[in-house]
């Protein structure tokens, strides 16, 4: 009976490669991401985070 809902995937040729690829992509992705974030310079990060606060001030126009 379980035939109806189980094993639909096993029928696909070479399907075992999917989980392996997924894991590799994942591992690499997060490794690179963490390296990227933690090697960033403090000044750079600070200047980025202050962007919404340091906006150019409005110039008064004569209407």
């Amino acid at each position: 009976m379980l035939k109806f809902i189980k094993g639909n995937l096993e029928a696909i040729d070479g399907v075992s490669i999917y989980p392996i690829i997924s894991l590799l992509i994942f591992f690499t992705f997060f490794l690179v991401l963490f390296l990227y974030v933690f090697t960033a310079k403090k000044d750079h990060i600070k200047s980025l985070s202050e962007m919404p606060i340091n906006e150019p001030t409005k110039i008064q126009e004569n209407e």
Binding site: F4, N8, L9, V37, S47, L48, I53
Partner: protein, 734 residues
């Protein structure tokens, strides 16, 4: 360096804000009407275009795409210009974006009540409107990217990243999920069938939540919370991790909407794993938002803008904690199809999206109109009545979900269902539906207070003008990395690269999930007894879709003892191969209909449509009198079969040729079976006589809509009578 002077476009922000408020009121009003329909099912008796099934998609679409959508545009247009130190690239595109979007909303507000729907949740609009959405969305994206190209700020703030991801992903999702073949101007059939259609739809549906209700709002959070609190975000590093991990993981989680369904196990498990992982980036974002207020909590006490934002972020945290929990199979077994899900989405919509939008409105209106908020007291009142409304809405719905789900699963010691009548479980939760409606009244009251407050603020303010500012233009830097810069600064000054990378990130998840599911179609065990619908059944199915029956009735029996006992044999993937679109449903306000075929006689269905309360005492289903009165236009039946045949449904040329005759034969059979009820035969004959005497046109029963839908309902689930696995074969396709 020579400074350049330029204007920010404030007028477009104002327009979007007005639209946000207008559609917010409309969307919430429709929602409230629906809440009251649970209590008074025949509130709009006999008016087809005000029936529950047709209004439900109108409510969800109005809130998601009209209210939240316009809020996104307002916030994005305001913050993008300031973060990039540039006016929007093209005023024309800004206006096309605005007016086009409003036209789409109006088109939706007209077509959905008229019953033109694809029935796929949050993608109900029919194909011409789908095309319009794609075009307008691209106009928005072009404008966004164009502004990035001519920016005066070297680096892109994280909010901009969220906006880019929003644009790219929504475009991809919308186009893939809306693939359909038209029959007429307002009727089309999905390019995917059954389980595959379900997988694509929930890949879309889940990510509509992710990339329409979440990522743009996170971008807005990263801009407006620091602005309102006047301090930078708690951790910018965390925001980078937040962004990449969120968009990378979110795209995989869709199948958690289909747990225990006929979807292959591997896809279900993949969805669960990624949904659980999602809690990390989601909570990272929530913590980042809340901790931005460190040292500024005293402001939260007095500033309504921050109050709204704090509750919004808290709501985000609650909903994103709940999401992964709901994806666990054992929790999902209880929550799915119940009101728990309704509570879950409303914590997201009312708290996260609603309150964040209110915060932004209260922040922007005084700035744009160069004045102060007219009444802080009223804004505080809005905050409290809104918060109370959310609690009164969500808590009873949680209770209702639990109570009903456990009643569905309760067995007697002798192995029979304790609550065999579905209606017992509905009657039990009526008090909760009352409380929910009251919560909705509170929330809408708050919204109306906002409208009043905004109007008096605008009255006391001055007209909106475009702000003049000055900033230095960017100097040309070499394309490659310069000696002094790190790779962070290099990548972050490359908006197009960033767009490309984020596209790749979302496509990886999409592809890994979609490619096998496209293949799985060929590997679904074929059940030889499952046959395509007859033309009359197909017409009936289209009425089922038109009336939005899928909003309250599922067609998916999960492999649980309690469900098999109540509804019959559990659903198999192979049973849906001719379903375009699939109609699994996601909520059981009424019972599952997967195997309703043959359960009742034709007369029962007729009486039930005419007055559900007579056949099922205490039912909260509205009456569908118009189905019984209306003549059914089946002139397109041949075209419909032809489109289906093009899509791969095995209808022979003879089937298409003889569609009309075949329909007439089947319809006549149903009419005859209806005559078996002497009461019906008597009233029918009297009606006929009355029409003849008064010279009115009389529509034969066989030509009416109800006959088609009875044909469909009587067919449901009757194709398989297999009791063992021998009756099926695996199609190896080689």
């Amino acid at each position: 360096m020579q400074l350049e002077q330029f204007h920010y476009d404030n007028k477009i922000v104002k327009k979007f804000l007005y639209a946000t408020i207008l559609w917010g009121v409309v969307g919430m009003l429709v929602g409230l009407l629906l809440a009251f329909m649970f209590l008074f099912p025949n509130l709009t008796d006999g008016i087809s275009w005000l029936s529950f099934g047709r209004l439900r998609p109108l409510h969800t679409n109005a809130v998601i795409f009209a209210f939240v959508g316009n809020a996104i545009f307002a916030g994005v247009y305001y913050s993008t210009q300031r973060l990039l130190k540039a006016r929007m690239w093209s005023d024309l595109l800004s206006n096309i974006n605005f007016w086009g979007w409003q036209l789409i909303i109006v088109a939706a507000a007209i077509t959905l009540p008229l019953g033109f729907t694809s029935s796929k949740e949050y993608a109900e609009l029919e194909w011409p409107i789908d095309i319009a959405i794609a075009l307008i969305w691209v106009a928005f994206g072009l404008n966004l990217i164009g502004t990035m190209v001519k920016r005066r700020q070297r680096h892109l703030y994280v909010a901009i990243w969220f906006y880019i991801a929003t644009f790219v992903t929504v475009a991809v999702l919308h186009i893939f999920n809306s693939m359909a073949l038209p029959v007429t101007a307002f009727k089309s059939y999905s390019a995917y069938a059954g389980v595959q259609d379900a997988l694509v739809q929930w890949w879309y549906g889940h990510n509509a939540v992710a990339f329409f209700l979440t990522t743009p709002f996170l971008g807005l959070m990263y801009y407006f919370v620091p602005k309102a609190a006047n301090r930078p975000v708690y951790s910018y590093r965390l925001s980078i991790i937040h962004f990449w991990s969120l968009i990378f993981i979110y795209i995989w989680a869709g199948p958690h909407h289909l747990l225990y369904s006929a979807l292959p196990d591997w896809a279900q498990n993949l969805g669960v794993a990624f949904s659980v992982m999602l809690i990390a980036p989601s909570w990272g974002g929530m913590i980042n938002g809340l901790l931005t207020l460190r040292g500024a909590w005293d402001k939260v006490r007095t500033d309504p803008v921050l109050k709204f934002m704090v509750v919004a972020i808290t709501g985000y945290g609650m909903a994103t904690f709940e999401g992964p929990m709901l994806s666990l199979k054992n929790v999902n077994a209880i929550a799915h199809f119940s009101d728990w899900i309704i509570a879950h989405v409303h914590v997201g919509a009312l708290a996260w999206n609603g309150f964040m939008t209110f915060g932004i409105i209260y922040y922007l209106v005084p700035i744009l109109f160069k004045t102060k908020l007219a009444s802080t007291k009223l804004a505080n009142f809005h905050f409290w009545i809104g918060t109370l409304g959310i609690i009164l809405y969500a808590l009873p719905m949680y209770v209702a979900g639990f109570v009903q789900a456990f009643m569905w699963k309760q067995f007697n010691p002798d192995g029979t269902l304790a609550y065999g009548n579905f209606l017992e479980t509905v009657n039990e939760i009526m008090p909760m539906y009352w409380m929910r409606a009251i919560g909705g009244v509170f929330y809408l009251t708050g919204m109306l207070v906002l409208v009043y407050n905004v109007i008096i603020t605008i009255r006391q303010g001055s007209t909106v003008t475009d702000d003049l500012v000055e900033a230095a233009p960017l100097t040309r830097v070499s394309k490659s990395r310069t000696a002094s810069e790190g790779w962070h600064t290099w990548l972050e000054r490359k908006p197009l690269k960033l767009t490309l990378y984020s596209t790749v990130a979302i496509l990886i998840g999409g592809l890994v999930q979609i490619v096998p599911s496209l293949m799985v179609d060929d590997y679904i065990p074929v059940i030889s007894s499952v046959k395509p619908y007859t033309p009359l059944e197909l017409e009936g199915r289209d009425i089922y879709i038109r009336e939005g029956c899928v909003g309250c009735h599922s067609q998916m029996i999960r492999p649980f003892r309690s469900e098999v006992e109540r509804y019959g044999e559990y659903s198999k993937a192979g049973e849906y191969v001719y379903d375009r679109p699939f109609l699994f449903g996601s909520k059981r306000t009424g019972p599952d209909l997967m195997r309703v075929g043959g359960k009742y006689n034709d007369n029962w269905h007729l009486n039930h449509f005419y007055d559900p309360q007579t056949t099922s005492s205490g039912s909260i289903m509205p009456s569908y009198k118009w189905l019984i009165a209306n003549k059914h236009d089946r002139s397109n039946a041949g075209d419909k079969l032809e489109v289906m045949a093009t899509l791969g449904v095995p209808y022979s040329p003879a089937d298409i040729e003889n569609a009309q005759e075949n329909m007439a034969v089947q319809a006549l059979k149903i009419e005859k079976s209806l005559m078996n009820d002497p009461d019906f035969a008597k009233t029918y004959a009297a009606d006929k006589k009355f029409a003849e005497q008064n010279g009115e046109e009389f529509v034969e029963m066989r030509d009416r809509e109800v006959v088609s839908i009875i044909a469909y309902l009587q067919r449901l689930g009757t194709d398989i009578k297999v009791k063992n696995g021998d009756d099926l074969t695996i199609n190896q396709n080689d």
